[in-house]
């Protein structure tokens, strides 16, 4: 039989149960003034103050060694923090990328000096990261990357353009995926990762890309002979592809892959309260079943990552099925409640619906398109 193991996640320990209760109380206090519309921004809400509060309370860098400002807790304890943030609509954007993938990459591949320079500040909620992977001619086909970094004494000179970098206009650093030798025809050979200081790199300009909702999350980063200190190389020169693939496993299986539209579900239930029809009960029941099972799959992958197992196939499945779920919610809601989406409405439901309608198309694009993920799954099944 074709087994795709999703090992059972362990039952919540007493520590996990206590952590969840403690953290829910923390979020209640932190988010008491946050409106439903703001909560519906989910993981793309950006608030440095909230991230600093998370760091000060010890909720960032959960699994990292204490010597780098971490808290040496389990992947499941971190998963509790992450899913509770998303479910509550906390503005996690200022620490999201750093805590999820940049920090773990630095911990895994960085020099001692890099670990000491970056990790404690990420764990404190003070350092915000973006992702520097996609290019105008290299989206899904990441190995076609053109951005070039040429070693020149004790610096790299970087030339090229990166796109879709969320919060590059706000963040402090990105990890840049680039080519340190050869040409795009060499594919993944000759690629490397550099830590780029967004606030202090001569030759780097950042321009907004406004999304269809009129919001400014994305940016284009243009490097023109930009100067980057050579000690900002992450890991080994030429090993960029393997490093970036390891980074993607962290990016693909988390609860953000099915909780992006959860605020719509919360508001839908509020609207249905007291006038729930059979159709409403049936629909909400089926949605809830899907959500519970996705959550279990995601926790299963967290367990695999904790045990350092290769979970690339499982992570791709979670993201594929998860995106279908979170993208289906607006239409499920539309079948139960007549409401015109209004991005500027004062009322909770119409504004949340508009925000989710506008943003949901991106959820099967970012972090690997649906088509790329299905290719990964098909390869895992042995078909190519």
């Amino acid at each position: 039989m074709t087994a795709i193991p999703f090992p059972a996640p362990p039952a919540d320990s007493a520590e996990v149960v206590a952590l969840r209760a403690e953290f829910r109380a923390f979020l209640d206090e932190q988010l008491k003034d946050r409106t439903p519309r703001q909560r519906s921004d989910n993981w793309y809400g950006y608030d440095r103050g909230f991230s600093r509060a998370m760091g000060q309370a010890g909720y960032l860098g959960m699994t990292w060694p204490k010597q780098y400002g971490g808290h040496e807790r389990s992947a499941f304890e971190r998963a509790v923090i992450v899913e509770e943030c998303l479910a509550a609509g906390a503005p996690v954007g200022a620490h999201w990328i750093a805590d999820r993938q940049s920090g773990p990459s630095i911990l895994k591949f960085g020099t001692e000096a890099q670990k000491q320079a970056f990790l404690p500040r990420i764990a404190a909620g003070e350092l915000s990261f973006g992702i520097g992977m996609s290019e105008p001619d290299s989206g899904s086909d990441l190995a076609a990357t053109r951005t070039k970094a040429v070693k020149d004494g004790d610096v790299y000179r970087v030339t090229g353009t990166k796109v879709w970098t969320s919060f590059a206009h706000e963040a402090d650093y990105v990890i840049l995926f680039c080519r340190t030798s050869g040409t795009p025809a060499d594919r993944h050979v000759g690629t490397s990762q550099l830590l780029i200081d967004l606030k202090n790199t001569p030759g780097l300009t950042i321009k907004p890309i406004i999304d269809l909702a009129g919001q400014h999350h994305f940016n284009e980063m243009h490097f023109e002979d930009a100067v980057v200190p050579a000690d900002m190389l992450l890991g080994e020169e030429g090993q960029g592809w393997d490093q970036v693939m390891s980074e993607l496993a962290f990016e693909r299986s988390g609860p953000e892959r099915f909780l992006s539209s959860i605020e719509l579900m919360v508001q839908l239930i509020e609207v249905l309260k007291g006038r729930d029809s059979d159709a409403a009960q049936i629909t909400v029941g089926r949605v809830t079943a899907r959500l519970a099972v996705l959550r279990r799959l995601s926790r299963s992958v967290a367990g695999m990552l904790q045990e350092h197992q290769n979970a690339n196939l499982q992570a791709a499945i979670v993201k594929d099925v998860g995106a279908l779920f979170e993208q289906a919610l607006p239409d499920i809601a539309r079948e139960l409640i007549d409401c015109e989406p209004d991005p500027r409405a004062a009322g909770a439901y119409a504004s949340v619906l508009a925000n989710i309608v506008h943003n949901s198309p991106s959820w099967s694009l970012r972090g690997g398109t649906r088509e790329i993920l299905r290719g990964i799954i098909a390869r895992g099944l042995g078909t190519r």
């Binding site: 074709t2 999703f6 239930i269 049936i282 629909t283 089926r286 809830t288």
Partner: protein, 329 residues
């Protein structure tokens, strides 16, 4: 080890001729005797209860194997009935058993009467684990006659039983038999989807059209990926239901069974489509699995009933209470 024994037994004794006989409503006494000899009816019991004390994962694998071999006999039902009998302190079944809930039966002067609809292989059973209200009854075969015939979507008997029985074996109901039935069916669905994915991978690797195997087409690969996603969801859903049943949490069972049922629907459709016309015939074994999936997804409470149960609980929790409810499932 149990899994290997089950696999060997089914590969040896559950061939196409046996499946064809079962489709005609013929009981398979030799196969059942082997199932009993292996002790499968006791597979969900603890060692204290006279079982093997299988781990949760081992028991789940045994149940999935019933699905991945399209077992036509009521082995899963007998396992679930014995688990209920043992928990309630009633005698175990001495042959195949059924599980059912029927709240409209009449109890008068110690005599239980009324009908129980669509019990798998009802004529051939040794006894029935029957819930009425908050009681569990162990109804022996002499306690019913066949009131009406019925047939499942995979052509196995589902007769309606006319119960007329002087109660001599009752206990407090430990949990609802429908929750047990829905849970074992979730595991069977996951097993059947494993088999369906295997067959679909094999068919699309060997079937050549336009000069290349079907699965070299990207559109076919993407359908296979979707089928793998449904299998993953069904497997996790069965585990979710199984864990919930162990703590008598009916909402968790509802979540698990509902998602497994959805996976049965979506998975059977993809597998059939990827097989082309041959998947629509009895010449190819895929039909054993698709018709089983179309059977199991509607048994032990329908999709609508389970969805209303879970949905009304979610609506009662309200917006702020929704997520805490989900994390408790």
């Amino acid at each position: 080890m149990l899994a290997e024994m089950i696999t060997r037994l089914f590969e040896r004794s559950l061939d196409d001729a046996a499946q064809a006989a079962a489709r005609e409503g013929q009981w398979l006494p030799a196969l059942w005797a082997e199932v009993e000899e292996m002790g499968l009816p006791l597979a969900l019991l603890t060692e204290d209860q006279g079982g093997f004390g299988l781990s949760f994962a081992e028991a789940g694998e045994a149940l999935r194997l019933l699905g991945s071999h399209a077992m036509p006999l009521p082995v899963a039902e007998t396992m679930a009935a014995n688990q209920l009998f043992a928990a309630a302190g009633l005698a175990l079944a001495e042959g195949p058993a059924g599980i059912a809930r029927a709240d409209d039966l009449t109890l008068s002067n110690g005599r239980l009467t009324g009908t129980v609809a669509r019990v798998a292989w009802g004529e051939q059973l040794d006894c029935l684990a029957l819930a009425v209200g908050d009681k569990l009854y162990r109804v022996p075969r002499a306690g019913w006659t066949i009131a009406a015939a019925g047939t499942s979507a995979n052509f196995h008997p589902r007769p309606t039983l006319a119960i007329d029985w002087t109660v001599d074996a009752e206990a407090a109901l430990p949990w609802c038999p429908l929750a047990s039935g829905a849970t074992v069916r979730a595991f069977q669905i996951a097993g059947a989807l494993e088999a369906a994915l295997d067959m679909t991978l094999s068919h699309t690797a060997t079937r050549v059209q336009f000069g290349k195997p079907l699965q070299k087409n990207q559109v076919v690969q993407h359908e296979l990926a979707k089928l793998a996603g449904e299998l993953a969801c069904a497997t996790a859903a069965a585990d979710l239901a199984g864990e919930a049943l162990a703590r008598h949490d009916v909402l968790g069972v509802a979540a698990g069974t509902l998602r497994a049922r959805e996976a049965a629907t979506a998975g059977a459709a993809i597998a059939t489509q990827m097989h082309g016309a041959i998947g629509f015939t009895r010449e190819h074994r895929l039909h054993l699995y698709t018709t089983a999936l179309w059977t199991w997804r509607d048994e032990f409470g329908g999709q609508v009933s389970w969805a209303k149960l879970l949905g009304s609980a979610a609506l009662a929790a309200g917006g702020p209470g929704y997520w805490p409810m989900v994390t408790a499932l």
